[in-house]
């Protein structure tokens, strides 16, 4: 009988410890990534709600990704096709990812607003760049909201701009991210 209660205690302990482990990981419940190209002759905008992401708040590790084919908007369906077919090559490189670690020693278990720098590998078009991206993080009622704006140089990711669209496509793309995370 004693032994049995011992087993139950261990089971309980293992469950709680597992649960505690889980609670440290937050995952994206809703997110939006949008980008904009401001060229002299054309402004191109597109966005995706298909954002996946995990954030571990104890070690401050994170992993985010977005499916390139999920981007919509653009100025025409043909432009979207060219985006996937000629520039991003979505069938070869289906995702953009950003994996890494938060530099600042912040306690994201406590409510508040923080400005952090996320350092990691940013991969688009199959090419990784080490980036430090500044983000605003708001923690409230056990939910984490991340807002971030940064730019991506097409040249950094081996996406050439053909001469004929030189004035229609900017070499620097502005990206905005907005995600809400909840405990996993």
């Amino acid at each position: 009988m004693k032994q049995r209660s011992f087993v139950v205690a261990i089971l309980l302990f293992s469950f709680t410890s597992l649960f505690a482990q889980e609670a440290k990981i937050f995952s994206v419940k809703s997110g939006k990534i949008s980008f904009q190209s401001d060229a002299p002759f054309e402004t191109i905008r597109a966005s995706s709600n298909d954002v996946k992401g995990l954030l571990e708040i104890e070690k401050k590790l994170f992993a985010f990704k977005v499916r390139m084919e999920s981007f919509d908007g653009f100025n025409s369906s043909l432009q979207k096709e060219h985006f996937n077919e000629n520039y991003i090559e979505s069938s070869k490189f289906p995702e953009a990812t950003f994996n890494g670690k938060i530099i600042e020693d912040v306690d994201l278990t406590k409510d508040g607003n923080y400005t952090i720098r996320a350092k990691g590998n940013f991969t688009v078009h199959g090419i990784s760049q080490e980036r430090i991206i500044k983000s605003d993080v708001a923690v409230k009622n056990g939910k984490i909201n991340i807002e971030s704006a940064f730019s991506v140089l097409l040249d950094d990711h081996n996406i050439p701009i053909p001469k004929v669209v030189k004035d229609k496509l900017s070499s620097e793309i502005n990206v905005k991210v907005n995600c809400e995370l909840e405990p996993r």
């Binding site: 261990i10 995990l54 590790l61 025409s76 996937n84 990812t97 704006a149 229609k168």
Partner: protein, 323 residues
């Protein structure tokens, strides 16, 4: 017994901790989304670069709200020699305007100098090639076109002499021609696509009493991309001998597609001079259209697309300004 059980549980708990310590978030993310990936249906896009393969239709349709202005030229044959500058002194042309009403339905109008034809067509994508959750191996379109000859003098000389008819006996409906096509295409990979095109052409009037009113043909076409923006195409229409006009041959063409932004340039070599279905499928003349004798016409299609209807998603969408 219990002791073993306890040890086992402790081992599991420890193992759990070890796994948790060796945290790989990107791997976890991968596992999470792989379930979703299995449930997703991916629609194949860009099987071909343009709505035309060379002379005939490809399986592609224009997107919603896209207007396509097309100019097509076919010069005369190389075998004409130096005096005719290897065919470049003369050309047949077609000027056309196509519009995408939905992402799967398009129509177009055109005018050809060849036999002074007007033509109109509708094309609808019935099935789309998919991979993933729902699998569909091919994209299937139906295309119907109507053509009308306006070269009255030629019709009179061609038809009246053969049929012993007077001009009054040729009402306008007699100058109408129809074409029905099913286009079945498959994109095998990023660079290789093939399509077959069973085709029926109906002629309201034909040259000789012995000529069939219907031409039945099987077309086959394909493309091979050689770079992101350049592909090599081929197109061949085999007309069933029982449904073939006397003195005609099959249409065979090769071409290159070059895509630059909103333009697609299609350069090709073909033994046909007409650019409507009845002209190149059924009326490519045996005399003077032999590849082996150098009766090859150089030609090009230029396509320029304009976006007419702004997409709704555009207005709904706004990036929050700031930073």
């Amino acid at each position: 017994m219990y002791k073993k059980f306890v040890v086992l549980i402790i081992a599991f708990v420890c193992a759990g901790h070890i796994v948790a310590q060796d945290l790989d978030l990107s791997k976890m993310l991968e596992e999470e989304s792989s379930k979703e990936d299995k449930m997703r249906t991916n629609y194949t896009s860009a099987t071909f670069k343009s709505t035309r393969l060379i002379n005939g239709h490809s399986v592609e349709t224009l997107g919603k709200g896209i207007l396509d202005f097309r100019i097509s030229h076919r010069f005369d044959k190389f075998s004409d020699g130096f005096y005719e500058m290897f065919g470049l002194d003369h050309a047949k042309m077609r000027i056309g305007l196509d519009y995408g009403l939905t992402d799967r339905f398009m129509f177009g109008l055109g005018r050809s100098t060849y036999e002074k034809q007007y033509d109109g067509f509708v094309k609808y994508k019935i099935l789309r090639q998919t991979s993933g959750f729902k699998k569909m191996p091919v994209t299937v379109d139906v295309m119907a076109s109507v053509m009308r000859r306006k070269d009255t003098a030629a019709i009179i000389s061609e038809l009246i002499t053969n049929h012993a008819l007077s001009v009054k006996d040729i009402p306008w409906s007699r100058k109408m021609y129809y074409c029905f096509q099913v286009i079945i295409a498959r994109k095998f990979n990023e660079s290789t696509s093939l399509q077959i095109m069973p085709t029926l052409i109906h002629n309201n009037i034909v040259k000789k009493a012995s000529d069939p009113n219907n031409n039945i043909a099987i077309g086959i076409g394909g493309r091979q991309k050689i770079s992101k923006r350049v592909s090599i195409n081929g197109e061949y229409y085999y007309v069933l001998p029982a449904y073939k006009f006397e003195g005609t041959t099959n249409s065979l063409s090769f071409g290159v597609d070059i895509e630059t932004g909103g333009h697609v340039f299609q350069l090709h070599l073909t033994n046909s001079t007409g650019m409507t279905e009845r002209s190149f499928i059924a009326k490519t003349q045996k005399e003077g259209s032999q590849w082996s004798k150098g009766d090859i016409n150089f030609g090009f299609n230029i396509s320029r697309v304009f976006v007419i209807g702004k997409k709704k998603t555009q207005s709904k969408y706004k990036i929050a300004e700031g930073h």
